[in-house]
């Protein structure tokens, strides 16, 4: 496994970078939804923050749509034979937006001090890391306690943003004044944030890649109402509608507009995967037959067509097809109302009213819950929707106070990073809506997860994960729904907008406008 990946990645960059054509200049207007709470990505890592701050902050690597690493702040890297030592060689001549030099010390500070404190998701990964050292100004060495298969997949900007040591060292990170005027190394500098209105970024003239970025200015517009966002695109105020910024019902109409392109690429790293939690702790859903009845009662193709415009795929199990080690050939969980009725017949279900929590993320999810309720009623369930807002949803899911609940989660490219967390027994704990909320317990599968994470061989991991996927689908602890397809709608003359697995989160570095 001692591979030097750099040449391969260089080829990838060359492939997406035609020798001619890029035109410098211009302003790109995008929608940001909802308004991010903060742009300091080291502290806040929610979707909108990542989208904007992905232009300001960088990490060591980027990933192509097949999740292969590409250089970013690291120009090349090596992994030791035993999978325990990762050495990164940093770009030279990189400056922070305030003019200070970027050095390996910044990386050590970010990963070892700052993010250990502030970044919950990375913290879990950093548990595998024994030490982080900077032998010189342009080299960083990560030493692991034990091998961790997905480790090289964690150097994405949202997962491990590099923050300036000279600003944060010794301060209260969360309350540092500078959080409001973020300083990064990225292609764009923070200029102005009119709360409730727009965020304005300007070109980083000192960016370490000559000629990049091409754009002079970027505006992220805060437009709270989905219909207004659609209007904003139509009237030409914005050029890009990132995934999820307009209601799915509006997508077909918008894509028919002239000079309009649409893509659902750029989400491969996240692999948004939706399912319906079924409460395995108590109530009717403890019976596997009831769970199977639910699984087969759901008309997911209808949801995909009517609610998601056909974008995305039917999920086949716990792992998304864009995530590594996906297994397509799992037992069938297809829509079959008759089969559902059969299972229901066999089950201990007695006509109890099931409480179904829709995901409070907008109309599409609300309609989906209504459709699902109707599907379930059609095979003989009694179902009641429980309306909640985001906080109420979090609370009820975290307290296991539901029978059925919609959700979706990111998979971060690797089952060990984004899938196992919702199925292993050690992750059953009240208080978080994002762990193994269903309460699925299978010690044999737990052992397989453990083994797969520690393995560094892709072949071994594939075998283990295939086994895991088959076993879990067999048990139906949750009802898998769709691999969500989030369409990015943009003017066709905006070029190279989506070139990586995190899409426009770090896409503006390469984007340009054809005049």
């Amino acid at each position: 496994m001692n591979k030097v990946i750099t040449p391969l990645v260089l080829a990838a960059i060359l492939a997406t970078t035609p020798a001619t054509g890029q035109e410098a200049g211009g302003t790109l207007n995008l929608v940001i939804q909802p308004e991010p709470p903060s742009l300091m990505m080291g502290i806040v890592q929610n979707g909108p923050t990542q989208m904007v701050a992905g232009d300001i902050y960088e990490s060591l690597l980027r990933y192509d749509s097949d999740l292969n690493p590409m250089p970013s702040l690291a120009r090349k890297w090596e992994v030791s034979e035993d999978g325990l030592t990762y050495t990164f060689h940093l770009q030279e001549g990189v400056k922070w937006h305030d003019g200070e030099d970027f050095t390996a010390e910044d990386v050590v500070f970010s990963a070892d001090v700052f993010l250990r404190e502030t970044h919950p998701r990375l913290r879990a990964t950093l548990d595998y890391v024994e030490s982080i050292k900077a032998p010189d100004d342009h080299t960083v060495v990560f030493k692991l306690r034990e091998p961790f298969g997905p480790f090289l997949g964690t150097f994405e900007a949202g997962t491990m943003p590099i923050v300036p040591k000279h600003i944060y060292e010794g301060t209260d990170f969360a309350n540092n004044e500078m959080n409001n005027t973020p300083i990064g190394t990225g292609p764009f500098k923070f200029n102005e944030w009119q709360r409730g209105s727009y965020i304005h970024l300007v070109k980083n003239e000192d960016y370490y890649i000559e000629g990049k970025p091409y754009l002079d200015e970027v505006y992220y517009h805060v437009i709270p109402d989905a219909a207004s966002r659609a209007v904003a695109y139509e009237t030409g105020t914005v050029d890009v509608l990132p995934g999820g910024s307009v209601e799915n019902f509006d997508v077909p109409r918008l894509t028919e507009l002239p000079n309009t392109c649409v893509t659902d690429a750029g989400w491969e790293y996240f692999g948004p995967h939706s399912w319906m939690w079924m409460n395995n702790h108590k109530g009717p859903m403890t019976d596997p037959n009831t769970r199977k009845a639910v699984m087969h009662a759901l008309d997911r193709q209808f949801a995909l067509d009517a609610l998601w415009n056909g974008l995305g795929k039917l999920a086949t199990g716990p792992v998304s097809s864009s995530t590594r080690f996906h297994e397509a050939d799992t037992p069938s969980i297809a829509y079959d109302p008759d089969l559902a009725r059969e299972y229901l017949e066999k089950s201990s279900y007695n006509g109890e009213t099931l409480q179904l929590l829709p995901l409070p993320y907008g109309e599409t999810w609300q309609r989906w819950a209504e459709a699902a309720r109707q599907n379930l009623i059609d095979v003989g369930f009694n179902v009641e929707l429980v309306a909640t807002d985001v906080a109420g949803w979090n609370q009820r899911v975290a307290d296991w106070d539901f029978d059925l609940a919609f959700t979706y989660l990111y998979q971060y490219g690797d089952p060990a990073l984004g899938v196992s967390r919702t199925y292993v027994e050690s992750n059953i704990a009240k208080g978080s809506p994002w762990n193994n909320v269903a309460g699925y317990r299978n010690p044999e599968v737990d052992a397989l997860w453990e083994q797969a994470a520690l393995s560094t061989s892709d072949e071994t991991r594939q075998e283990l994960y295939t086994e895991i996927q088959n076993r879990i689908v067999e048990d139906v602890p949750v009802a898998w729904l769709l691999e969500l397809g989030f369409p990015t709608i943009y003017r066709c003359n905006v070029q190279d907008l989506v070139t990586t697995a995190i899409g426009i989160n770090d896409g503006l570095r390469d984007a340009w406008i054809e005049q």
Binding site: T27, N29, P34, E35, P37, S38, M40, I43, V44, Q45, N46, G47, H119, P120, R121, R123, A124, A174, N179, N180, Q194, R195, G196, S197, Y198, H200, E217, Y219, H221, V222, I223, P224, D225, A227, S228, V231, A232, E234, T235, T237, P360, D389, V390, A391, G392, W393, N394, Q395, R396, A398, L409, Y410, R421, N427, A429, G431, S432, P433, W434, N435
Partner: protein
């Protein structure tokens, strides 16, 4: 007069304090807490992380302590800190307050002016087709959901006709300054302010009409006619001025509704004001922001009330001289 204002201010302060306390308990009675929401957005699965967040927000303190700290701060105009938005609540609100004030005050002025003019026109043509028309239109606006008008207006004037911008506060990225910027904002203001104002225009119109008709039956109007004054003068000087008194009272009472209506209008027209801030804050259980917005909107209502009280005093010598 100064005594009067002082007395009103003191009363307002008491009400505001009571509102703070009540809201504090109301909102804390709600399920969910900001730590859980934030952890969720960060994709955290980590119990410790949520506990840390709670500790940082002071959510692990007893409720009474949280309330005491909050009120102590509010007394010094410190509305707390929004951990979700990572900045002081007062600043968040102050950032957005001008937009809301601009919207609500414009809507207020539009509705009063249009409403009074239409009411006077209708009253002076009582029973005629002009009256019937104005009254019918007002009745329809009064019966139409605000957000529905907003949607239809945005659809018609912005999308279909393309006359006016359908959302936002100004043309973003245009970097206008001075007068040009003012005009640009004004153009953006037209749709939301008119939409918000229409409902209230209808109310003021009906009110003015009824009040005009009532006043015109009073004795002093007869006196004025007996003097040989022309109808126009009587209408303006005698009837209208007296008829406006109840309209002013009503306007004060409606202020709260205008602030509330701003939530819907700001949502549809993407107007960056505190109405929208409030809706987001409720969804995210950002207690401090929510409390702050409540505080400020109640203060706005009290301010509107005070303004109308003062107006009343200015217009009505009976109160001016006695107080």
């Amino acid at each position: 007069m100064i005594r009067f204002i002082l007395a009103r201010l003191l009363k307002a302060a008491v009400i505001l304090m009571a509102i703070l306390v009540l809201n504090f308990f109301l909102i804390h009675a709600a399920p969910g807490d900001p730590a859980a929401v934030m952890a969720g957005e960060a994709g955290a699965t980590d119990e410790q992380f949520i506990a840390d967040l709670r500790a940082r927000f002071g959510l692990d303190q007893p409720l009474s302590t949280q309330l005491w700290l909050y009120i102590k701060g509010a007394a010094q105009l410190d509305l707390g800190y929004s951990y979700r938005q990572n900045m002081p609540v007062a600043q968040l609100i102050l950032d957005r307050l001008p937009a809301t004030l601009l919207l609500t005050l414009t809507a207020f002025v539009i509705s009063i002016v249009l409403g009074v003019v239409a009411g006077v026109l209708a009253a002076s043509r009582q029973g005629g087709w002009g009256d019937t028309l104005i009254s019918a239109v007002a009745m329809i606006f009064y019966a139409t959901p605000l957000f529905w008008i907003a949607l239809m207006a945005s659809l018609l004037f912005s999308v279909v006709l393309g006359w006016l911008p359908g959302f936002g506060y100004e043309t973003i990225g245009a970097n206008y300054t001075g007068l040009v910027r003012g005009l640009d904002i004004a153009r953006h203001l037209i749709l939301p302010a008119t939409t918000l104002g229409l409902f209230f225009t209808a109310i003021y119109m009906r009110m003015t009409r009824a009040s005009m008709l009532e006043v015109s039956r009073l004795d002093f109007v007869k006196t004025a006619r007996a003097k040989g004054l022309r109808p126009g003068v009587i209408q303006r000087r005698h009837i209208l001025r007296n008829a406006l008194l109840p309209v002013i009272t009503l306007a004060g009472l409606q202020a709260g509704q205008i602030v509330g209506g701003a939530v819907l209008t700001e949502t549809v027209f993407a107007w960056p004001g505190i109405g929208r801030l409030m809706f987001d804050a409720i969804n995210q259980r950002d207690y401090n922001v929510l409390l702050g917005v409540f505080f400020v909107s109640a203060a706005m209502v009290l301010l509107f009330n005070l303004i109308t009280d003062i107006l009343y005093v200015v217009v009505d010598p009976r109160i001016r001289i006695r107080s």
